[in-house]
């Protein structure tokens, strides 16, 4: 037996690549939902909305203080239990595993983006919103037209990190029986005991995705930094 079966590895690359769309789908859906929820939570934290502020704090602490894998399991077994207890007209076995992944990964993205948005919001001078009020904008208009665009530019580098982390953490989706890159690699590896080959292929696939994303983010950042300079001047 050869140490490393190159042929086997190269032959099975296309099969592993079939998992890429699922991985990207989970990451994109959760970053989009997570950003909206995260922005909402950041505003709650910044404005210190009485009860909601404490709830958000606990939520963020929980998400950041427990492993994603445990969260996946909690919801994977918790939601069917809830559905059964409520006697809704849904068969929990029929829920696609993707939904569990979307819910858990979105919550994760929300908790992490909330902190980033909060930091960015805090770094924008309060005078900006006052200036908006003085020219007759409502608070919402001021936020939407003046504050949010600046916040987005400031948050972008961190958002890039979060997205890359999300991509990496989708490898845990096997816990809720989603078949993505890692699950496919695992199945192929178990068939012929070609562990080294298949996991290396999986690693390279993740690596390439990650490097591509880094390039994209770098490029976007560079483009958007034009606006940044305009603001400071």
């Amino acid at each position: 037996m050869t140490v490393f079966d190159w042929e086997f590895a190269i032959d099975h690359i296309p099969e592993v690549l079939k998992g890429v769309p699922i991985t990207l789908l989970i990451a994109v859906v959760s970053i989009v939902i997570g950003s909206f929820v995260g922005l909402f939570m950041a505003l709650i934290r910044v404005y210190r909305v009485p009860v909601l502020n404490q709830m958000t704090l606990v939520f963020i602490s929980f998400i950041r203080g427990t492993p994603l894998l445990v969260q996946l399991y909690v919801f994977f077994y918790g939601i069917p239990a809830l559905v059964e207890a409520q006697e809704w007209q849904v068969n929990p076995d029929k829920i696609s595993p993707l939904w569990y992944a979307f819910i858990v990964y979105s919550m994760n993205a929300a908790a992490y983006t909330a902190e980033i948005f909060r930091a960015s919001l805090n770094s924008i001078a309060a005078g900006q919103l006052e200036a908006c009020h003085s020219v007759g904008m409502t608070t919402w208009q001021g936020l939407r037209r003046v504050v949010f665009p600046q916040m987005m530019i400031m948050a972008l580098p961190n958002m890039g990190n979060i997205f890359v982390n999300l991509i990496k953490s989708t490898s845990l989706a096997f816990a809720v029986k989603v078949v993505e890159i890692m699950a496919i690699a695992k199945m192929l590896a178990n068939q012929g005991y070609n562990f080294l080959e298949m996991y290396l292929v999986a690693a390279v696939v993740y690596w390439v995705i990650c490097l591509l994303l880094e390039v994209i983010f770098h490029y976007t950042e560079k483009r958007l930094s034009i606006f940044k300079r305009a603001v400071t001047v």
């Binding site: 492993p67 890359v164 845990l172 890692m182 562990f195 080294l196 290396l200 690693a203 990650c210």
Partner: protein
């Protein structure tokens, strides 16, 4: 019955907390040693090694830990067996610690490097000007400051590592997560929700404790630090 059962489950899982903590500390110590070496290579830009380490850091940070864990656990024995070395007898615990240490060393190297660079070249020059050697300057001036600067990032890395230890069950380490899986297996899959709630509370609790400890250390070391603006 209800509350009693929760208590028993909690105690059963807590039994394995030392394994998780041992994994965390062992990987952290190994990772710190490796990370420091990598950081030195990166700062000094030692020719060939520098490129190798850049590649290593990129790989470590850009691939999921689970893939790395499987590569080390399944791949390395396969690789070594070709050379006539059999390491299948080693416990999964060792594989887990090695993987975590390698993974975290890449992150720690960046933390150490950025902290070192943040102290600034001027301080080193000031040390030279009063006749200190490089080692003296490092020990007396640079490292104490770099350590304080690195603390927040170090804390985050430790917490991330603690959460990542939950992956070790995939290669058969019976830590708290592995114990939870065993309990579920013994109960024929009943009460899974309960077990996972308990285990998430344990992780949460320990994370908060780690956070408090790091915060305390930070407060202690902040005392000696004088802000530039205050002088």
């Amino acid at each position: 019955m209800g509350s009693q059962q929760w208590g028993i489950l909690f105690a059963q899982i807590m039994e394995r907390l030392p394994i998780t903590i041992a994994m965390l500390i062992a990987a952290l110590i190994l990772g710190l040693i490796l990370g420091t070496i990598i950081a030195i290579i990166q700062i000094k830009r030692i020719p060939f090694l520098h490129q190798c380490m850049t590649l290593f850091i990129s790989f470590s940070r850009c691939t999921p830990l689970l893939v790395q864990l499987f590569l080390v656990y399944f791949g390395v024995p396969q690789l070594l067996s070709a050379f006539g070395i059999y390491i299948n007898d080693l416990t999964p615990f060792i594989f887990a610690v090695v993987t975590f240490a390698l993974h975290i060393s890449a992150y720690l190297a960046e933390v150490i490097r950025s902290a070192y660079l943040a102290v600034g070249e001027a301080q080193l020059e000031a040390c030279y000007s009063i006749g200190m050697t490089y080692t003296q300057a490092l020990r007396r001036v640079i490292l104490p400051q770099a350590f304080v600067l690195a603390l927040p990032n170090l804390g985050n890395t430790i917490i991330d590592l603690f959460k990542d230890t939950s992956l070790a069950f995939t290669i058969g380490v019976v830590d708290i997560m592995g114990q939870a899986r065993l309990i579920i297996g013994n109960n024929y899959g009943l009460g899974m929700f309960k077990v996972y709630i308990i285990i998430s509370l344990i992780y949460w609790g320990v994370c908060i404790i780690i956070e408090i400890i790091i915060h305390q250390i930070e407060q202690r070391f902040k005392k000696g630090r004088v802000n530039v603006a205050k002088t």
